[in-house]
Subunit: 200 residues, 2 copies
């Protein structure tokens, strides 16, 4: 770069810029903030980054991110073994857990089928799900993929794979989001809400 | 936190949240991005953070951030020793260097006088500037503090300190920003532009 910026500063700016949503300006602001901040702010972030990569792994049962294998949810005997919620990403497990309603287990696919991005069923943990259903006594598979094209395609594919095993397959309800305004709801959501209307 | 989130994930989310402008949602998004990204993305960021704190120091002459002391600008014999631009922060040096016009040296104050924040002249590198002017042959001090209240107060204070030494003190021109629209210029800027009007 230039005389005014030492290489270690440039390198941190570049490393921050690789993160999603962080442009060169933000990266530079974060770097100069860390230069002024007490040492432990930068070093604890560095340590946390190293720990993230050295301490975590995928749970060999559900493929969620975990430090212990199997993960705490798979190890928890109080959680219902007969239900498996299938989600795309570890963050989706966090979202479902936050509701506090679901007491079953999970299965993390690590993505969704997306031919445009070259992601097919074999790139996801779908075979592992089928194997789980063959070896464990599962009564219901709740498909909780994202309500978009990739999520729908993934849900359909899983339904086809699981159907022969005689396991009940459900998926999250489609309809109006709570707190929304009918006027601003998009027409696909409104169509799903009409199709899935409940008797009062 | 909860069963779904391993401690090392929580810790990285917390470490990211300490950065300015990074809320818990962004911190969590960055963390889960790094979980999926190749290992080197997280480890190179960690290494850059450690390097930032271990390899950099303040230049003992101008107090800019540097890996070598004196910094490359202070070591560069092609740069004019007789001019010193006084700026608040290392990022301001980068901004002035980007213009490519200035060929003198710098002096970084590391802040501006701000009684509200409890920052007085003694918290800045002002004494060090005065000492520099006493020992080096400097003809002009260009005050390039920010065009706000703190920057103005700092500029006035430095002017008072430097005046007895017989060194010429200038400051960056105030006026209309290039590419702006007169209609949208704030009245203080317009006042300065009127006061400082140039003959054509």
């Amino acid at each position: 770069m230039n005389q005014a910026v030492p290489p270690s500063v440039t390198q941190l700016i570049e490393a921050f810029s690789r993160l999603p949503g962080v442009g060169p300006k933000t990266a530079s602001r974060l770097t100069y903030f860390l230069l002024r901040a007490p040492d432990h702010v930068a070093t604890s972030l560095a340590q946390a980054l190293i720990d993230l990569k050295t301490k975590t792994q995928y749970c060999s049962v559900c493929f969620n991110i975990t430090e212990d294998d199997p993960c705490p949810i798979c190890q928890d005997s109080k959680r219902d073994l007969s239900q498996i919620a299938v989600v795309e990403e570890p963050l989706d497990v966090v979202a479902v857990e936050r509701v506090g309603f679901y007491k079953g287990r999970y299965h993390v696919l690590h993505g969704a089928i997306s031919p445009v991005d070259g992601i097919g069923p074999d790139d996801l943990k779908i075979k592992e799900l089928v194997k789980r259903l063959q070896t464990q006594t599962v009564l219901e598979v709740i498909i909780a993929t994202n309500p978009n094209m990739q999520g729908e395609a993934t849900a359909m594919f899983i339904k086809q794979q699981v159907a022969p095993l005689g396991v009940k397959v459900t998926r999250l309800a489609r309809g109006l989001p709570s707190g929304g305004d009918l006027e601003y709801v998009d027409s696909i959501t409104l169509l799903r809400a009409l199709e899935g209307r409940d008797e009062m």
